[in-house]
């Protein structure tokens, strides 16, 4: 990243990253509608998706204002290409089976809990208000994903095997969650965002407790060139966006 990123620009990009993680994860969860193993879980995943898309809208609208180029939430969601998306790489990973979705969800829920808690005390009052609201919803999400993680981990030999495999597969993407770059550091110095290295310890403690309850093993830390926050994505994001953006790209300006 270029050292010449102005604080105002960093602020906009910081908010955009939060927005994109919420939007991309919300879209992923939406793919479950009509396909979950039970009606109750179908509705739960749809509810989570709805909350996340709601959070994304508030954040995108704000990011657009900070950017000051006249892009509203719709322009940012529907008219950007994959390299302009700044979401965590973990959020764009495919759903896999229900257990795989639960592992991804639990990892991001527990990350969002830390981030939103920190942001609720932000000097940026608008961001603090969005975070305080999102935090209440995230607590529900986390109870759901943690509950299923424990049930599947401490379940049958087959469910255990499968969620452990998902955990092993997805763990490398967690390297990105608390790795600060210039934007994070600048926002934290300005009192706008919490300092990521401090949150990393709490997150680690909480996730270890959950993994113990779920009788799952914590995979070893893996060196991984995290990159979603910088706009470099895995192959999956493009496919997700082609579905998300199809209507606006085919019929520009279409309205309900």
């Amino acid at each position: 990243m270029n050292a010449a990123v102005a604080t105002g620009e960093a602020h906009g990009r910081y908010v955009l990253r939060l927005a994109d993680t919420a939007l991309v994860l919300g879209q992923r969860l939406g793919e479950w509608v009509g396909h979950a193993p039970a009606l109750e879980e179908d509705m739960a995943l749809a509810n989570l998706s709805l909350d996340l898309i709601g959070q994304a809208r508030l954040l995108l609208a704000y990011a657009g204002e900070l950017e000051g180029q006249g892009r509203d939430e719709d322009a940012l969601a529907f008219l950007r290409d994959a390299p302009e998306f700044m979401n965590l790489t973990l959020a764009e990973q495919p759903n896999g089976d229900f257990g795989h979705t639960i592992v991804r969800q639990w990892l991001i829920d527990s990350w969002q809990l830390e981030i939103y808690q920190g942001l609720a005390a932000s000097t940026d009052t608008r961001l603090a208000a969005i975070a305080a609201k999102a935090l209440k919803e995230t607590r529900y999400h986390y109870r759901f994903s943690r509950g299923w993680l424990v049930r599947l981990g401490d379940g049958t030999a087959e469910s255990q095997r499968r969620v452990q495999r998902s955990l092993d597969e997805l763990w490398r993407f967690t390297a990105e969650l608390f790795a600060p770059d210039e934007i994070d550091e600048r926002m934290s110095a300005a009192g706008i965002a919490p300092a990521l290295p401090q949150l990393a310890g709490q997150w680690s403690t909480h996730t270890d407790q959950d993994l113990a309850a779920a009788t799952l093993g914590r995979p070893p830390a893996q060196a991984y060139p995290w990159h979603g926050k910088r706009g470099v994505h895995t192959e999956y994001l493009g496919h997700l966006l082609s579905e998300l953006q199809h209507l606006q790209r085919t019929y520009p300006g279409a309205r309900w």
Partner: protein, 164 residues
């Protein structure tokens, strides 16, 4: 002085009238409740400049009813002659189920939706038979604000308006 007091009284009266107007706007998802019962209307204020401002807040960030409510508020204000009223979105403090009015709770109960319990309480009262023994089926229901329960006494499923 007398004039200022008089205009303040007029402003208060106008604000009261708007509260009444909005008290007749039903929530699109739980129409037995008005948006005032739900605590969605945060303020009605006439400023010194004479502009009337109505603050509304979403229940959940992604509640799809939010936009329908905004339009309904606009329509109610226009129909009540307040075409100049400004609608503003309020995010902080975030909406809480504690803002549900006593009247709103009673209406929910009568409609068959269990009103939110004290967060410390583990039991939810069945709105049909009044039993305190019920089991949670899912923390997520047909709308973001409701959970899904089943009564252990009468066996009926019911919605619970969850705490937030």
């Amino acid at each position: 002085m007398a004039m200022a007091a008089g205009s303040a009284r007029n402003a208060a009266e106008r604000e009261q009238r708007v509260w009444k107007l909005l008290g007749a706007v039903p929530d699109p998802e739980i129409p037995v409740l008005s948006i005032v019962d739900l605590g969605i209307v945060r303020h009605v204020r006439e400023g010194a400049d004479g502009a009337l401002r109505v603050g509304i807040t979403p229940t959940y960030s992604g509640c799809p009813a939010t936009e329908v409510i905004r339009r309904a508020v606009r329509a109610a204000l226009d129909a009540g002659g307040c075409t100049d009223a400004i609608i503003e979105e309020v995010l902080s403090p975030p909406w809480t189920s504690d803002w549900l009015t006593a009247e709103g709770r009673a209406k929910l109960q009568a409609f068959g939706i269990a009103p939110p319990e004290d967060p410390g309480s583990r039991a939810v009262t069945c709105p049909r038979c009044g039993s305190r023994t019920s089991a949670r089926v899912s923390e997520f229901g047909s709308t973001p604000c409701k959970a899904h329960y089943r009564c252990s006494a009468c066996g009926e499923p019911f919605d619970y308006f969850k705490c937030l």
